[in-house]
Symmetry: C2
Subunit: 341 residues, 2 copies
């Protein structure tokens, strides 16, 4: 892997910059060829770096700013009112070629707005998509897009999400011929609305895509598809619904274990086994949603990510930057557009 530089927005996450510095410490060890630009309030960051024995580390450039985009800030307003926000500087580092990727745990709407404005889309790409890898039952990962960047999508946009998701699954997850599916309310071709049906026809007709048809919400984690395409509204609803249901089941299971002396006594054993069986679903393992289709790698970490979770987002950003994902997407989109002519 050749030398890379990542820009990290140290501010804006729910847990503050300590999490980012701890993740950075792990990343310096795991990625010996990667440089990091750490952007945020130097008064907060210096002591944290000193604690982690990273102050004046040769592969860290500290860039001070005291402007932070808050979770409550409106995306459009930040653009005008906070020109020196840490998130914006991180994105501009990518736009200016000082970094090949950036990571932020801040306000998603602001991240999308600034990234869209500063990085622009790859030629031919209609809209960038927010995509995340999800663990699946088959032991691999599936990519779900869009997760909320585009509440409403036309069929051309959904088709392009299939193309871009396919490149991501191949380049980053190493899946040879990724199976692409559209999320729908039934598997039959007549199901759903005009947009999803038309996107299905477009994907089916394309020689660039291994399209397997419609899947339903209960197949998101099954591994039937490597890439699952939907509009941002449905994707967000699906993911949040799954998260809610998982949390509900875990909470109730815990209660049920605690409710009996025998099971309570065995709780440690159960918990251990249970936890092990669920490692593949641990959100820390798959933190990091990327904005696909931009002229640079932009990685969104969960707002309340732990250090391990933020590290996963860094790892994902390194993977996308080192495979030159934006260039790969550019090539594929160009090929698809040429075919259509």
């Amino acid at each position: 892997m050749s030398s890379l530089t990542l820009a990290l927005d140290a501010m804006g996450g729910d847990r503050g910059p300590a999490v980012v510095v701890a993740a950075l410490s792990r990343a310096l060890h795991s990625f010996p060829n990667v440089h990091f630009i750490l952007i945020g309030d130097a008064n907060e960051l210096k002591p944290l770096l000193q604690q982690e024995k990273l102050f004046e580390h040769p592969r860290i450039t500290l860039e001070h700013t005291d402007e932070v985009i808050e979770m409550t800030d409106k995306p459009g307003q930040c653009l005008r009112s906070k020109p020196k926000a840490s998130m914006r500087i991180a994105i501009e580092a990518v736009a200016d070629n000082r970094a090949q990727a950036c990571v932020s745990a801040g306000n998603t709407g602001a991240l999308m707005a600034i990234a869209y404005l500063k990085l622009k889309t790859i030629p031919g790409v209609i809209r960038p998509a927010l995509v995340a890898p999800l663990p699946n039952q088959a032991g691999g990962q599936s990519f779900l897009l869009d997760l909320g960047a585009n509440p409403v999508c036309d069929s051309d946009t959904l088709f392009q999400f299939g193309v871009m998701g396919s490149v991501l699954a191949r380049e980053v997850a190493g899946i040879e011929n990724p199976k692409v599916a559209l999320l729908n309310m039934g598997e039959e071709e007549i199901k759903g609305h005009d947009t999803v049906r038309h996107a299905g026809q477009q994907l089916k007709a394309s020689s660039h895509i291994n399209y397997i048809g419609f899947i339903e919400g209960n197949d998101i984690f099954s591994g039937r598809a490597d890439v699952i395409v939907c509009d941002g509204f449905s994707g967000n609803v699906a993911l949040k619904s799954c998260e809610g249901m998982a949390r509900l089941l875990f909470d109730n299971l815990q209660k049920s274990i605690k409710g009996h002396w025998l099971s309570r006594g065995l709780a440690w054993l159960l918990y251990k086994r249970f936890k092990k069986s669920w490692e593949w679903l641990n959100p820390d393992q798959y933190n990091g949603a990327s904005l696909l289709g931009l002229r640079g790698v932009v990685m969104k970490s969960h707002g309340n990510a732990s250090a391990n979770a933020y590290f996963s987002a860094i790892r994902q950003a390194v993977a996308e930057a080192s495979t030159q994902l934006p260039e790969r997407i550019h090539d594929r989109v160009e090929a698809v557009l040429l075919d259509d002519k």
Copy 2:
């Protein structure tokens, strides 16, 4: 409760008429004032009724037909090609006032198409909605609509779903002032697309609705809202995603219990406790999705419902018919429309 008649489509479910007859046996006992019209192939039904000692029961009218709508039939085609289908006769019994409600475990699309054609919507109602009661963590039930009858909805339709769902929650679940929410991809008022935001404004402005704002997918089972409104595409995706996640977690938990000699030995105990803690989420308990907004009660049972699940659908139909739900919806929709003038 005054005397009611229910029309049961005995055919069309995945498990055949035996399930329906077993459910009917339980229903005769539970609802001593309800008459049942049992519609289907008499050659199959007679032996089943004899087995259950229900043949020539005074509260059962057996209506023979050998036409059945299959799961693979296209809704539009059934209307022309199968005029004597058991499902259609059941709906026509309601349209002709021979029954106050009908129940079917058959093809959902066909049920909606025939019910819409034969029963028509209540005056002022734009579209009927498919709605199901879901158990919630607060120990009650929440109603989610639409579940797939209307893949795309405008804001007026979503608003009406809020009105109709509110009547359902009050009349059938006895919730005094039902909390109505819109499913969205965030809780802030700026989130989502124009349609959901506009529907939010309409619901907020109405004095007929206890509107609490947007909720996300992870709140579907939390009990924060008694009525959760969305378009049929999102509703279907949300419900299927939850089902898929629940199944996934149960499967993996089972594997994890079986994987260890100690936990395997204790599996019976765990399973018992676990099952008990999950009774509120047992699909058998909340089977039955109704088509709201029609001039009659139409209840859809899961296709693969067990006898207990089919019984739940009958119970739900009895509840809606005995509270004269269509009339209550009619009154409320009329009041809302008058207010708008």
